[in-house]
Amino acid sequence: MPLDANLDPRTHQFKVVGTRPLRPDGVDKVTGRAKFGADATAPGMLVGKVLRSPHPHARIRSINTAKAAKLPGVKAIVTRDDFPETKDESLKDVLYNVMAREKALYDGHAVAAVAATSASIARKALKLIEVKYEILPHVTDVDAAMKPGAPILHKDMITDGVEPAPTKASNIAAKCEFGHGDPDEGFKHADHVIERVFKTEATHQGYIEPHACLASVGTDGSGELWVCTQGHFMVRDTCAALLGMDVSRLRVTASEIGGGFGGKTTVFIEPVALALSRKAGKPVKVVMSREEVFRASGPTSSTSMTVKIGINKAGRITGAFAELRFQGGAFTGSPVVLGAMSAFACYDLEHVKVVGYDVVTNRPKQAAYRAPGAPMVAFAVESVLDELAARIGMDPIALRLKNAAKEGTKSSYGPTFNRIGLIDCLEAARKHANYKVPLGPNQGRGVSAGFWFNFGGQTCVSLNVNIDGTVALVVGTPDIGGSRASMCLMAAEELGIPYDRVRAIVADTSSLGYNDISEGSRVTFSTGLATIKATRDAVTKLCARAAKIWGIPADAVTWENGYAKPSGPNAGNFEPLSLEDLAKKAAKTGGPIAGHYEVNADGAGVSFAVHLCDAEVDPETGRVQIKRYTVVQDAGKAIHPSYVEGQYQGGAVQGIGWAINEEYIYGKDGRLQNPGFLDYRIPVASDLPMIDTVIVEVPNPGHPYGVRGVGETSIVPPLAAIANAVSNAAGVRMTHLPMSPPNVLKAIDGAKGRGARR
């Protein structure tokens, strides 16, 4: 049931929601005034720099900081000894990742840090720190790490989720299994069965702003932290726990954030900066270099996957199976569970099973990246479906429509779907002009569907009515893509006032109740929900003030288009009071007027997308060019359509990068070969066409306006859509991402070779 039973988002005439006003932080961002992570300064500020392990796997015998400490200008040095062991199991890996303990587990693992009066002194000091390493054998490939005899990262790692539990340590942190029915039974009824093995390389979120923070801890143990993060409350709680501080003594302010995409949902340098500041007694700024971002923050998993799907002649899937092997870096926690749950979520299946393995390797600890785990698995599943459609001569969208999940489908991960929009997206894609454009030579068309859960979470919003009737909206979720504009739209909609009468800010951790991270496509859904409810709370109070003024019962007043009005002729005949009128009278009618709402929001609606891609392949060089790209996605309800389109386009282009050129390349020495934007090749403007978008709106029953998250689903279909387009253009099935020119050319030449032998 909708939270607001009176409002049907499909027929309701919104006043400002759905329009495209300018964002409140816009002018600051086009004039250079907006303050990002590295833009803050403090009097007496020191510069912090981190020493990192050059070895992928090494026991740290000793760390001697004596020479560095003697260098004039060096004010503090921290090592593992400055970070006490934690009893909290959930924080252990975070702590060990922030600063290496017995072992350095990957190239780039932090080993020590220095605060000095200048960057050049800090750099010099790092060179004076003597670390004695005992180099150990390493492993960076997921399949190699799973083999018996592989170098073991953690001697106490016993695979979770296997009964009975193994007796020997391995690099397999956990096994999981999802599904229902029996795929083998399903394959018996299939006319065609295709099984293939796929691989994807690790990619980085690639936010343009490197991690940065400014920490200041006083001698009384109270601290402040300015930081670019997707979740400053998470940063506060984590840092306080790691450093043994009272949560109330650490105030964290979220700076403007220069991109996150999941990568800024944990801590790296923040506890280090606080520890340095505490030791030095001065503010310390730490800014990662781009090289550090690549080597030491969290990329996503690389994967190895086996997918087997059977269909009958009519195009109905009879059985589906997948085994997923994800490495998530040096610690447990790859997104294989989410990959496994989302693998076949688009389809209505009788027999489906997915097995997942979470594997550790000598790489940086993975961090969330936009729909974690789902894009790679969609690549594998949707590639096999494309091949099956071709095998039976069926249109790829028709095949997906034939099997699409809908309301009442028992999902492959367990629950039964309520109202969902996959079929709507598939139909819109099939009708799109881009699906009918004739293809040129060496061109191919690819289709893929994609699914993501979307999340809610803890959210707290306050709304203050100012003396002139304008409104200050206070939220606690960092704005990573224009969310302040969406929040203002929703508050203005509820109040019935113009958009520019509302201004939203992101409050620091001491000014508002706890808010979960801006992640999981949750902000427009849950902060939006809390904003609507906080606004309604304020409206109730505004009506009560009007009732007091008029001397009638509060429930005899209604709120309409920015005015308190008597609810009907029986309530009395009074001139309506505007928000301005009531604001002006606030002091005399009971004091400030504010609305508030706190919630642990659930009911974020799942969302689906269908992407179309036309790609051209140079058969002589293997170079891939994206000629045409279309995103069709269910937004539930688009609050600010421009920023919804922006999420669709941004997700698609990140997917294009992932599919074609982006990859973590490790040398035999276990060191990252390409820690920079020169050789970690994210798409540039001249690589791309315009990205066409279609916003489908199938309202989410869990949100008053029908909002579903939109940020993540858009990166789920691209890998498969592009792989299908490239495979169709090149005449050979691409099973390894990225489809970089050497990989594509090798596949083309390999296919020619096989053809010649036949």
């Binding site: 090289e291 002589e620 060089t621 293997g622 170079r623 074609i660 050129n661 390349i665 070969q673 390409n674 934007f677 020169l678 050789d679 090749r681 798409p683 540039v684 001249s686 690589d687 970089s740 020119p741 050497p742 050319l745 090798k746 030449d749």
Partner: protein, 286 residues
């Protein structure tokens, strides 16, 4: 670390040859500053040569060109006569990095960085360009292919720097071209680069040709066998196939993060053919 910005070549050479430990010339700085930042070089002296007038100008004389060592790529692109005479060289220089890089990066810097993948170098080698080297013992002029000897290493001696690049006069019915392979459309280092320069007689028969390859060996290489495939032919399909085969055969690449050996060998042939086709078209138009 000391910074100097002399205004004459002699003063610059004197500084570079002085006692100052590691000295580096700063022209465009697009390689030097990256090397400093990534700790690959820590110079004791930086000599900014952009305030030396003789190094900031392009002069044309009887169809030949002298390009000062501190002239940026964008300035080459804006020089109409140079662009008309040596479109391949100018295009190659203009392929280096972004517009931002183009405002700074120089031919001399690209040459002295001694990267096997330098974009402008195969084009210059194909064009028969030479480098004027100024040093404590005066000036000498050498073919550009003699400057780089190995990745990051040049034949320049202590105190020497490239003062200018010389491009010869083009015979009539000549054309040059440069093509490189990169995975993206911009912003990448060449995985393979090919420069071709050729001259036709009045009957359309190729009388002279030079073919140079980048990123397929420890330095940019001149491939006479590839040129031989063109000379004496009308640059027909058969000649182009022989050219491609000769170019591929001359490669001795490595596997690295930017490409595999087999990929480089194959694509060198493909690009040689495509670059020759462009050069041919230009030669026919001149």
């Amino acid at each position: 670390m000391r910074f100097e910005a002399p205004t004459t070549v002699n003063a610059a050479v004197k500084l570079l040859a002085g006692k100052a430990g590691v000295a580096r010339v700063l022209a465009g700085g697009t390689d030097l500053l990256v090397q400093m930042r990534t700790d690959r070089v820590a110079p004791d002296l930086i000599v900014d040569v952009k305030r030396i007038p003789a190094m900031r100008t392009i002069t044309a004389k009887a169809g030949a060109f002298r390009i000062g060592g501190a002239v940026a790529g964008a300035e080459l692109g804006e020089h109409k006569a140079l662009k008309k005479a040596w479109p391949g060289v100018v295009e190659a220089a203009n392929l280096i990095g972004s517009h931002q890089i183009q405002s700074r990066a120089t031919l001399a810097g690209n040459l002295c960085n001694a990267s096997p993948a330098a974009d402008s170098v195969p084009a210059m080698v194909a064009a028969g360009a030479s480098a004027v080297i100024a040093g404590p013992r005066g000036k000498r002029t050498v073919p550009v292919e003699a400057v780089a000897v190995a990745p990051g290493k040049t034949s320049l001696k202590r105190g020497e720097m490239v003062e200018a690049i010389l491009l010869p006069k083009h015979p009539s019915r000549s054309g040059d071209a440069y093509l490189r392979f990169i995975p993206r459309s911009e912003m990448d280092i060449a995985v393979v680069g090919v420069g071709v320069s050729l001259t036709l007689d009045t009957k359309g028969v190729c009388t002279a040709a030079r073919v140079a390859l980048g990123a397929v060996a420890e330095r940019v290489i001149l491939v006479p066998e590839a040129a031989k495939a063109l000379i004496g032919s009308t640059v027909d399909a058969g000649a182009l196939e022989r050219l491609a085969a000769a170019a591929s055969a001359a490669c001795r690449p490595i596997d690295d993060k930017r490409g595999t050996k087999e990929f480089r060998i194959k694509v060198a042939g493909v690009l040689a053919r495509r670059a020759a086709e462009i050069a041919l078209k230009r030669a026919r138009g001149n």
